[in-house]
Symmetry: C2
Subunit: 764 residues, 2 copies
């Protein structure tokens, strides 16, 4: 925890004071992104202190050779790493002959960073005294354009405060970058070409193995005496993977000078000629100019907030928390491109590798469905459809399945599995369930059935086939079982009959069978096309049904609860509240075997099932299971508190719901787990959004209608959010007295509040 | 399988014909060792074909930095690797200006290798034609002296067959060697000093981190025209880690020339001044001379065979197999030094690292007890006693145990754990049981109780404390359980209540408590010393008793069998005989998750318990469990067939017993698993010995008496073996008609044959 470091503010993330120990954490928190690229808040000028350099381009990855201690059959050969991309933000600076470096300055004061979430820019200002005695005021603003998403802009200003200064600005592009987590210290980038022209430069490099070609570009403009200088670089350093321009200006004491750097990437995913594309995008950006680019940025973010903002009255920290979460989600993924997905660290770090986990389907899709056009969620579904062949290949070649059974990877970039830990990679197969559930959830929310006959049904069939083959028959119990799995609770490995897994497996088969039936009736030509393609017979459907119809679910009748897995009640059931605080977090304090045999739960598991299939169970059943499992849950996954918060709210345990909400919403801002320097927990941020909307707001979609059951934490004066429900925007405002509904749309809409139908008239 | 490659012979391992594809496998099979050092059968002359170079020194290791994919708490930082030692056998040879290299010769004929197990030497001879047309006959003999165990000898002879030849012999020592399995390509050896004097040279190097200092030495004598030449090297190449001498001789066609090279190691484990020690040992060896050294070798091996030989009539392959096993065990470990142990690959390869596994206690000790003086087995027990503190440290620091609980490592060199795979390292805890069992077994066999009050009791207490803490109470079943383990069957991971583990845990606690009682009565001062040292109270003993007295054992009453673990009967129980042959070995054909959820058993597990505690169960119980588990066992561990062979013999399933025997005894010679090039399976060779002695011979020790229940496979005419029983040598010869007993000793001895007491009179 680092609770009071970030200043509370409704719209901005603010750091005050320069603390070397905090540089890496703040680099994560002040990260910026625009869906297509992003970067940590590394300093533009050289910094010799502790820093974690990171720039990232969506969809660009490197398959790093797998590193394991002991090879197991079925491991993938490569691990697709989020790639640290060439650096375009760098501006080395020399002031009166001294390299400007905050780490070596004799004094740094008035240091302030602000990430303005409302307008989408990052700002840093301070006074610094160099070793040579020169005192300067520095003011830097940086943003990545939402409109021109290949372009970022830096405005870097220096004012000498105590004497005149000769300032040399040395903007550069550097493709000689590495990943901190490279397995074998391999080079990931191969430089191809360095080109310059006037104040523009282009470094083209391609990734080894994957051969993504990227042109990193810059264009520089120098300002002094209040106006643009028509300067060309006085000198240029060129290496095979780097180019650096020199501009010098003499600046009088008290006078401002500066450099505006336009930079970014054009990539072969989108352009045949990346250099030409870079030249064009520079032209477009220059034509707009800095001020217009900034205004466009403010407007674009206003549009995003208009739809996705959540307001909270009377609790600045809660307000700041939810906005930070919404802001980061939008920085990471805007849904324009079905080749992209939502990496667990977004553009804030390289940890975990891969871009796609089950997080997307289990946690992120609801957020994007409700705050964006439905095409965005559909793109996320299509991403999996496009990778279906790879999922079938994975099941077949790595794991020995047949007949088109599909196992989606645990972690992926291009559809290939890239995780390598048998207990996760091979056994955390429940991920397949969330992918099917998302298809159901998409249709439930949007009412857009067309996705299923077009694409979804093939995915559902591949997944159903997997579950059918993966289950085995126990003669002993005369039921089908799923042995040797890891459930969502990763603090258990290789267990038998994980309730969540068995339940969602059965559900997947049933749902696939239902959809086959429905498509055959309503979309006969799609049905014919698909059935012929996947060669599905009635006999096979009957086999599916045998498994789904006779699935075993571990349960204690006596306690009225489902068992997380076989044997759970044999554990030494000491509750978390009775566990010595010094033993936590257990994943840092205990050896792995001890974690495994303990009863402690990393994240919602049985409760995840109750979350997905809430209407399959009674509230009393939920309460019994919640009370039991919550008492053993340590929430050492960022994905855990949100589900507990939603269910606590449903069960009128509002203090608990609020505590879980705070934990999820300020996880990174308050650095709960002392690891924010590695990057932010992007995907769990969607869970924070759910905590409010589905938890406090009680939003559900049932029978094509929106339902709310609003509750409000006593700490808040009120809160509001909007939901894009089938192209009409419903706004709900809740305070301690009342719930107000309004509608931006064209048609009246019946909404249910606490079970009562309310007719809402459109505003306009 | 490579069934007919090695020629059948009663006393020798013979290869005929030069096959590049077999070089690495033969390097393993023709390995030589003398307990203190050993090496693969690498060629002396340079060989540019595929080869796996390996020389090893007992007790010398390197802690290689751990390599894992995903770090888990509790993993050790280092993995102690068997170290490839400096090469002293190398002799580069130039013949008429051409480097002599079997890989580039235009013809190789009459190629023959022999490992003469009776006399303990390795011989290689062939004719080769160099590219320059020179045809030579080569004859090389090498052995590692059992008497002077720092010394090896090579006699290398060349006879030009078709023309005169100028031959340059270039004997060398090279410390610039590496391990094939180094994790990080680190250098393991730091060269310290290179010294030469006349025909002698000394390269001193020390291991990084562990700082073992080793002087590798050589002394060379050149022979030509039938006599020793008084030659000094004409030139010397010296590098920091290598020295190479040049000797040239002109040899007439048909005339023999040669080099005798004495070489080996003196190590800081045994000498303060390793160079001085090397000079001395060279003097001693030279004083004896080649012929005497060879005669001493033959005599020393005769002494070993006199005690440990097993004869088999009418089945050359079986005879060759058992002698190969006995020979290799004696090459690996002679029991002189309690700092040493029996590595799974001995001196034949570097795989697995470490030198000590539970193999020693579970499989090797019975062989050494019965074929050597009892001090040898006692040294093996003392090895663990000396590492007790490390075992306590391991349990405490890595795994969170307290109060002197000891967990011995899975793999070790110096007592520290060096294995890093959580499912093995942290969970294969049954190893602790075998270490306690060996103490019991030693006393049962030798009658030497003194070890227990002196050393063994402390080990037993540390182990009992471990089991007491490791068990947890299940309120649900009202019994103690051991959750989250891997049993001997490593094809299951993280299972609950492995029968073998639970059983031996209970036994360990009970046995420790009994021995505390016995020592208190019979050795009160030892009792006082130990109890004070380990601070053991009566209250703690009562706590132990609660756990041992109420341990849960999974069982099917209906089937009358113990369950390998909770839930075993829920598996899809397809027997091995019904499994498609193409699916085996499953550890090569299946992904790990599939192996785990299958019912297939890598090696005896429940049956291992029946093997250790045979008299705790009825024969009917054994038969039911054997019939059930044997049908699911794939024997993909080298340690499995021997236990099955012994039990099959006991159950009068002689065909099965014989088949298992052949599999274990010729595992390496016939290269069952296509992996002998990595080295031989040394520890399982003791299991082969047990298959005959305990299996066919039915040897047991009960109530201080030897028992036999001899059976004989129909394929054999007869067999015989000897047992050193409490300093009297009992020889038993079995054929289809009768069993003969004889005794080399001083006192008559009552032995039981099929339950009937037989009084055997001494021969002499």
């Amino acid at each position: 925890m680092n609770q009071d470091y970030i200043k509370p503010d409704n719209w901005s993330i603010i750091e005050e004071g320069f603390d070397r120990e905090q540089v890496k954490s703040s680099e994560s928190l002040f990260s910026i992104g625009n869906g297509a690229m992003g970067q940590r808040a590394n300093f533009e000028e050289n910094y010799t202190g502790e820093t974690f350099q990171g720039s990232y381009i969506a969809g660009i990855y490197y398959p790093d050779k797998t590193k394991v201690g002991w090879w197991k059959n079925g491991y993938p050969k490569y691990f697709a790493k989020v790639l640290n991309a060439p650096n375009w933000i760098g501006i080395d600076i020399e002031i009166n002959g001294e390299n400007f470096d905050l780490n070596t300055c004799t004094e740094v004061s008035n240091y302030r960073r602000e990430l303005n979430m409302k307008e989408g820019w990052y700002h840093r200002s301070f006074h610094a005294t160099l070793k040579n005695g020169t005192e300067v005021a520095v003011d830097v603003r940086r943003f990545l354009s939402l409109d021109l998403d290949e372009v970022g802009v830096i405005n870097y200003e220096i004012t000498p405060l105590n004497k005149d200064a000769k300032i040399i600005y040395k903007p550069y592009i550097d493709a000689g970058v590495t990943n901190e987590d490279a397995n074998w210290d391999e080079k990931f980038w191969e430089p191809l070409d360095v080109k310059k022209s006037g104040n523009e430069a282009f470094v083209t490099a391609q990734t080894f193995k994957t051969h993504f070609k990227v042109t990193t570009f810059m264009q520089n403009t120098i300002f002094a005496k209040g106006e643009k200088q028509n300067l060309s670089p006085i000198s240029v350093d060129t290496k095979s993977d780097k180019i650096l321009f020199y501009y010098d200006v003499i600046v009088a004491k008290g006078e401002k000078s500066g450099i505006q750097k336009i930079g970014g990437y054009t990539v072969s995913l989108n352009h045949e000629d990346t250099i030409l594309a870079a030249e064009n995008v520079i032209k477009t950006a220059l034509a707009k100019g800095y001020n217009q680019l900034l205004q466009d940025q403010i407007d674009a973010w206003a549009k995003i907030w208009e739809m996705s903002d959540i307001t909270i009255d009377g609790d600045v920290k809660a307000q700041q928390g939810i906005r930070f979460n919404i802001f980061q989600l939008n920085q990471t993924y805007l849904g324009k491109d079905s080749r992209l997905n939502i990496g667990p660290k977004g553009f804030t770090g390289e940890k975990y590798g891969g871009s796609t986990y089950w997080d997307t389907e289990a946690y992120c899709i609801p957020f994007y469905m409700a705050t964006k056009d439905q095409q965005v969620a559909r793109n996320l579904l299509t991403y999996r459809y496009n990778q279906l062949d790879k999922a079938i290949e994975n099941a077949k070649d790595n794991l020995g399945f047949t007949n088109g059974a599909a196992l989606y990877p645990m972690v992926t970039m291009n559809g290939e599995e890239c995780h390598n830990e048998w207990e996760i990679t091979h056994e955390e197969i429940h991920r397949n369930g969330a992918i099917a559930f998302a298809i159901y959830n998409y249709y439930r929310f949007t009412g857009d059935y067309s996705y299923i006959p077009e694409k979804g049904l093939e995915v559902l069939i591949g997944i159903a086939r997997f579950w059918h083959q993966r289950a085995s028959f126990s003669k002993n119990k005369n039921q089908y079982m799923i042995l040797g799995v890891t459930g969502p609770n990763e603090y258990e490995n290789n267990i038998n009959n994980n309730f969540y897994t068995n339940y969602i497996a059965k559900w997947c088969i049933d749902y696939a069978a239902e959809q086959i039936q429905k498509v055959s009736l309503e979309y006969p030509s799609d049905h014919k096309r698909i059935i012929e393609k996947v060669k599905l017979s009635d006999a096979e459907l009957q086999e599916w049904n045998k498994v789904a119809g006779n699935m075993y679910f571990p349960r204690s009748e006596e306690m009225g609860i489902y068992l997380q897995q076989d044997g759970f009640l044999d554990k030494d059931l000491v509750r978390v509240k009775d566990l010595d605080r010094s033993q936590r977090p257990i994943n840092q304090k205990w050896s792995w075997d001890r974690v495994l045999r303990s009863p402690y739960i990393k994240q919602a598991d049985v409760l995840q099932c109750f979350y997905f299939f809430e209407d399959h169970f009674s509230k009393e059943e939920l309460e019994r299971n919640f009370d039991f499992y919550e008492s053993f849950t340590v929430h050492e996954s960022s994905l855990s508190p949100c589900v507990h918060s939603i269910q606590a709210a449903l069960l009128d345990k509002m203090d608990m719901a609020y505590a879980f909400y705070l934990r999820t919403s300020r996880l990174d801002l308050d650095d709960y787990n002392k690891e924010v320097e590695e990057g932010c927990h992007i995907t769990s941020m969607a869970g924070t959004w759910m905590s409010i909307v589905e938890g406090f707001g009680g939003m559900r979609v049932k029978n094509d209608a929106l339902h709310f059951s609003p509750k409000i934490p006593k700490e808040w004066g009120g809160y509001s959010f909007k939901i894009n429900f089938r192209n009409q925007i419903v706004k709900i405002s809740v305070n301690h007295q009342e719930t107000k509904l309004s509608l931006e749309g064209t048609q009246e809409l019946t909404v249910f509040v606490n079970g009562t139908a309310v007719l809402v008239q459109p505003n306009n």
